[in-house]
């Protein structure tokens, strides 16, 4: 009875909001969101390099070739940007200063990964595309180790 009265009195007073939110959707981070686009970049780079230009004079074949090449380039560009965005989210939102103490090369790794994403957009470089995926593997290992979980590296392709 008295508690009910107390509750009623409390509920008559004004109330304000105090946020105790997390950065992301409460800890849902996974480096696979970087791995998948990085794999796509490598795949598109290989496909561009393997694409054969048709013989001169075959306009129809040339149109098909140009269309395919444009699509490969467009996908490579788009997926490299996604890989860059997703890795930056992990870097700035998931990793904290205490992780830097354990992984002193963390900042350098993410910085170079972002640079590789840009290089993969600018160039058709198998070397840089492979290097990008290799960096994503390092991020994967660092991330899951920081969570105390043993998640083996795998690729979809």
């Amino acid at each position: 009875m008295l508690n009910k009265l107390k509750e009623t009195l409390i509920n008559k007073t004004p109330i304000e909001a105090a946020e105790a939110h997390c950065d992301g959707p409460c800890g849902v981070y996974d480096p696979s969101s970087t791995r998948v686009p990085a794999e796509a970049v490598l795949s598109m780079t290989k496909k561009i390099l393997d694409l054969k230009k048709p013989d001169d004079g075959d306009d129809k074949a040339y149109a098909a070739y140009a269309n395919t090449l444009a699509r490969y380039i467009s996908i490579k560009e788009e997926q490299a940007q996604i890989a860059k965005d997703e890795s930056l989210i992990l870097w700035t939102d998931y990793f904290k200063p205490e992780h830097l103490e354990k992984y002193p090369d963390l900042t350098d790794l993410f910085w170079k990964t972002a640079k590789l994403c840009s290089a993969c957009k600018q160039e058709v470089s198998l070397e840089h595309a492979k290097e990008l995926l290799s960096n994503v593997k390092k991020i994967h290992e660092m991330f899951w180790e920081s969570k105390g979980r043993d998640v083996p590296w795998y690729t979809a392709s």
């Binding site: 409390i10 105090a18 946020e19 105790a20 997390c22 950065d23």
Partner: protein
Amino acid sequence: MGELPKAGWKETALLLFDLRTRYLVEGDSMIPTLTQGDQVSVDRKADIAVGDIVVAKHPFKKSVTVIKRVREIDENGRYFLISDNLEDSNDSRSFGYVSKTHILGIATCLLN
């Protein structure tokens, strides 16, 4: 981590006489001490010490008020605020130390 006591009649009276402010907790970054929907009474004039749960203005988002725990007070009197739920939370690890002008008060008890 210190838990907050339940409000007694004294705290209720202080609230009714506007000597305390009632805040609603939104989010889970203060778990296990506070959870979504909890209500706390805040003393706007109490001295702040390490370990206190405080309500503060976000240093970079004017419209946002946060509730965090004081982990450290530096030599310049600035406060390092941390979440009780350390994983993935937005606190002084991302927005840095906050000045006393940002602190709105100390949570003294639970109202629900």
